[in-house]
Each structure stands twice: as C-alpha cells, then as structure tokens.
Symmetry: C2
Subunit: 366 residues, 2 copies
C-alpha cells in the first residue's frame, strides 16, 4: 500500500509474508533450506505483489552482468551484420546478451554494464587496447585477419585463415583456366594489405611456375580512397539518413570502394582475365559499375569475392566467393568470450576454416 508505484522489493515480500528477507531469497532462488509451506507462502505473496528480483542488485552481488559489448564501425556492412548474428545467437543460448556499438567511443566502456568486449575487426581492437583498454581490464575477444598481430596485452583471437582464403580463391580461378589473376583492393588499409600480400606472393610464385612474365603491379586495381584504417576519426557524427551521396557513407562503405575501383579499372587496360576482390561488398560495387559500362561478368572479366555475404542471394548474379562463414566467426568469438568468463580456459588462437562458394561470376576459360 505504501509503495504503490514502486516495484516491490524482497523486503516488501518479507514483511507481507511475515518472514525474513533471507528466507525470501532462499524461496525465490530455490536455494538453501526453507520449509515447503513457508516457501509456497512466500512465492504466493511475491506473485501477488508482482515481485521481480532487481537485476542490478543481483549483478552487484554476483559481479557479473551477463552482458557483452560488440564494437563494430559500420552497421550496414553485411560482414558486421552476420558477425553480430552469429555472436548474439550463441550468446543467447548461453544466457548472455550483446550490445552492438557502432560508435566506438571507447571511453564509454567504463560506464557500460558488461562483462566482456568483442571486436569483429582487428584494427578497432588495436585502437581500444592502445587506449582505454590498456588499463580497463575486461576480457577481450577479437576476430582478426592477421594471426601475427600482437596486441599490447594478451587478447583472445578468432582468426580468419587468410592464407587459406586467398590461395583457395586463386586455386579455384586457376582450375578454371585463369592465369592472369588480378586483385581489387582499397588504396590503403592494413587489413586489405594482408590479403594483397598473400595474393602477391602467390602470383610471383605462379609466374615462375608458368615461366611467364607477369607484371604483378599491372594486375592490381586500387580504389582511390582515403585511409580506411582510420575510419573512426573521420566518422564523427554522420548524417542520420544514410545517403550514398553523403561523404561518410560513400567513403567508407566497401560497396562504394568497389565502385571507385571499377572506375579506375575502366580507365586502365588491365591484362587480368579474373579479379579477386578484397571482399564481396567490393565485388558488388565493382560489378555494378561494370554493368553500367557494358562490361559483362563473367564473359568479359571474371570476378571473385571473399566473405560469403548473405546478400549474394539478393543479387541477380551470385558472386563466386570464398566464404569465411561470418556467422560462425561471430559464434566462435562469443563462445570464446563466454568460456573466458565462465572459467573454461579457451585457446588464445582460434582458427576458422574458409569454404569455396561457386556463383555466377567466374568463367571457365579452359
């Protein structure tokens, strides 16, 4: 009667049931001893008062929130969506929830009610670990493109096996008879550099095998775009409604990087018969410009992507790609995170396996 508009607490229940708060706890949690009839009485009273245990008080007591945060820098990127999807579903099954944070204002981590921090992109994790994360010691799990990346403090990794990814793509293209296999990459950006290097090494080697003389550089298509490593600094307060005409959107969505790369490609005279794109988004941006310019895929040029985004199914042409099974990546990351939190010591390095997905964008030139 007194606290009519406040939610009932364990004390209200205790008074109404004529017992101590300790007994209410035991009854509600089904723990310890409490006489059967008393327990039922307590639960009845609790129900009639609409009693719900206060989750914040529980968290203060248990020192855990069962909540995690996932930092991602771009909500519309299919990779990010799928990563979150996989992670959140595993988390859900294990009793956790995940915040998706697209602002990456890392200082705010200190006020978030979470038990752990996840990243779907290693450069973000690095920025975090080198700033707040250096002293704020929540466990960290990161999906990384670079198994050799050393963070300032030990961090659990889920590793995209890029050597396998890139070679799988090239093997496939070669099996279809391609030899002059180019690569489409953003102008800069460290994580694209990894795939680029792998491609380059392999191409140099193939040049020897086939005793041809390929100019590696001729085979590269670089999108002219600013430093993608540093997207954070530049994405301050983008406009609310996403329009590709907005600089922030245009510059940093991979799709638009692909479009820019295509213009570059059309201006030049690439000797490639097939192009491996840094990811599927870029492949689709690239192909959309080719189409506007009456260049046919795969008749005139074969295209491959990397990632295996779910949007492949939405387009008229399914891009041939190496799937890194992004949902699985997120799922493993969540599993590792929760294992850490629950005291099962997971490995620091967790490798995932890519998988070739055929599509409509590679021509057999054998």
């Amino acid at each position: 009667m007194k606290k009519v508009n406040k939610t009932a607490t364990r004390e209200d229940v205790a008074k109404a049931a004529g017992v101590s708060v300790a007994s209410v706890s035991r009854a509600v949690n089904n723990s310890g001893y409490v006489k059967k009839e008393v327990k039922e009485k307590i639960l009845d009273v609790a129900r009639s008062l609409g009693y719900n245990p206060n989750p914040i008080a529980l968290s203060l007591q248990s020192r855990k929130t069962k909540q995690l945060i996932l930092y991602q820098n771009e909500i519309t990127a299919p990779y990010n969506i799928q990563f979150f999807n996989g992670a959140t579903r595993v988390a859900y099954k294990r009793g956790y929830s995940i915040f998706l944070d697209i602002h990456c204002d890392f200082e705010k981590i200190k006020s978030h009610l979470v038990d752990g921090v996840m990243f779907s992109l290693d450069v973000l994790a690095e920025t975090y670990i080198n700033s707040v994360g250096a002293n704020y010691l929540l466990p960290v799990v990161v999906a990384t493109n670079d198994a050799s990346l050393a963070f300032a403090r030990p961090v659990h990794n889920v590793i995209i096996d890029n050597p396998k990814v890139v070679n799988m793509a090239i093997d496939y293209l070669m099996s279809k008879g391609h030899r002059r296999i180019g690569m489409v990459i953003p102008e800069r950006g460290r994580h694209s550099a990894i795939r680029y290097q792998l491609w380059k090494t392999r191409m140099e080697q193939e040049a020897q095998n086939f005793r041809g003389k390929m100019s590696i550089q001729e085979l590269v298509v670089r999108a002219e775009i600013g430093d993608t490593d540093n997207v954070l600094a530049k994405r301050v307060d983008p406009p609310l409604i996403m329009q590709p005409s907005d600089d922030n959107f245009a510059n940093y969505s991979s799709f638009n990087i692909g479009k820019r790369a295509a213009h570059k490609y059309l201006e030049g005279h690439s000797p490639a018969t097939a192009l491996l794109c840094f990811n599927d988004d870029i492949a689709y941006g690239f192909m959309s410009v080719l189409k506007d310019n009456n260049v046919r895929v795969p008749e005139d040029i074969s295209i491959m992507g990397i990632d295996g985004i779910y949007l492949r199914e939405w387009f008229d042409k399914k891009v041939t790609t190496v799937s890194i099974e992004v949902e699985n990546l997120g799922a493993v990351a969540a599993d590792v995170m929760i294992d850490i939190l629950e005291g099962n010591k997971p490995k620091y390095m967790n490798w995932t396996t890519p998988k070739l997905l055929e599509g409509d964008t590679v021509r057999d030139v054998n």
Copy 2:
C-alpha cells in the same frame, strides 16, 4: 598491494589517500565540497590505483542503467538495420546505449539491465504487452503501422503514416499515367493488411472516378506464405549460417516473399500496369524473379516499393519507393523513449512523414 588483481574500489582509494569514502565520492564526482588540495590528492591516488567507479554500483544507486533494449525479429532486414541505426545514434548522443535483441524471448527482459523497451514492429510489441510486459512496467515505445492499435496498457507510439504512404505511391503512379495499379502482399500478416486496405479503398474510389470497372481482386498478387504475424513461434533455433534454402530464412525474409509472389504473378494474367509492393525487400525479390523470366522492369511492368531501404543503392535498378525514412523513425522512437525516462512528457502519438523517392522502376505511360 592486497587486492592486486581486483579492481580498486572507493575504499582502497580512501585508505590510500587517508580520507573517507565520502570524500572520494565527492572528489570523483566533482560534487559537494572538498578542499582543493585534498581533491587533487584523491584524484592522484585514484589514477595511480587505476580506479574506476563500478558502473553497477552506480546503477543500483541511481536506479537507472542508461541502457535500452530494442526487440527486432530479423537482423538482416534492411528496415530493422536502419531503425536500429537511427535509434542507436540518437541514444548515443543522449548518453544511452541500445541492446539489439533478435531472439524476442520476452521473459528474459526481467534479467536485462535496461531502463526501457523499444520495438520496431507493432506485432512484437503487442505480444510483449500481452505477456510479460503486462506486469513488468518498463516504459515501452513502439514504431507502429497502425495508429488505431490499442495496447493493453498505454504505450508510446511512433506512427508510420500509412494512409499518406499508400496514397502518395498511388498518386505518383497515376501521375505517370497508370490506372490499373495492383498490389503485392504476403498472403497473410496483419501489418500488410493495413496497406492492402488503404490501397483497396483508394482503388475502389478510383474505379468510380474513372468510371472503369476494375476488379480489385484481379489486381492483387499474394505470396503464398504462412502466417507472418506469428513468426516468433516458428523461428525457434534457426541454423547458424543463413542460407536461403533454410526454411526459416526462406519463409520469413521479405525478399523471399517477393520471389514467391513473382511466381504467382507469372502464373496468372494480371491486368496491372504497375504494382505497389508491400515493401522494398518484396519489390526486389519480385523483380529478381521477373528478370530470370525475361519480364522487363519498367518496360513490361512498373514496380514500386515502400520503405526506402539503403540497399536501393546497391542494386542495378533503384526501386521507386515511398521512403518512410526508417532511420528517422528509429531516431524519434529513441528520443521519445529517453524523454520518458528523463521526465519530459513526450506525446503518446508521434507521426512521421513519408517522402517519395524516384528510381528506375516506374515507366511513364502518359
């Protein structure tokens, strides 16, 4: 020294600085009085101990978490992505974070550390309010398609002005000379029924105006698909990797509804010269099947969508659509939510305004 691996508390700081915990509070919060030198000393000590106020304890004290939850049933739907994007950005600016929950296991709300509950879809909100939400009294904000929907308890709404949306689409098509304007809708589903009714009413009226005799039913294309109102019950534990071949994905993504509708359309002999699709996703699914069957858009049939999804920019053809500015919808919802929480009484009914976006899918038949 003692608690070397535990994070420092206000008590550790107090001891190390030789003051009381109350003074530490005052220093850290910059509130109340504390002598300048003492304050500096305290802050120094706090810094050297790596002290961070425990956010859970703060929440227990303040009775707020500054965290919200947004329930959505499908993470890959562009509408949901954009809604979240708008909402989370407003929330961020106002100091809040948002959980994106795609499981909609509403019972779990009781263990979530949140101050309020948001929905981007009214049917979900209704399910919630009729179950846990009936007694668990966190404030609720819902984006609704139906301004007349009455919830079991008062709930704040952000309203999609569907009468305006549908008539704006039809006005546009008529301005391009179309008279036999059909509609593509899922077989069932209450929120598609709203747009369908509005379309029907208008078409009946136009039939009189033009003294023609249109058979309304001939103009409807219905996707044969189960009850989309009840997606929750059926989406138990879908497979991790999204494959359109999976039933769960295939049945409930609007894109696939559009594909099914197209097959229906191709089997029949629709007299329509233009089709208004329930949403853009359906429009794209529809068009993808038309393309496979060599039906040209807009030469053979004009297509319009509703929503204004960001993916319009990714496709070769931009669908002509009525944008409901989904990011804005989310932004308004978050603003209303936070207004409630901060004691500024927002309105219960908040209308948003649609906007026509021209594209490549409507032919001028004048």
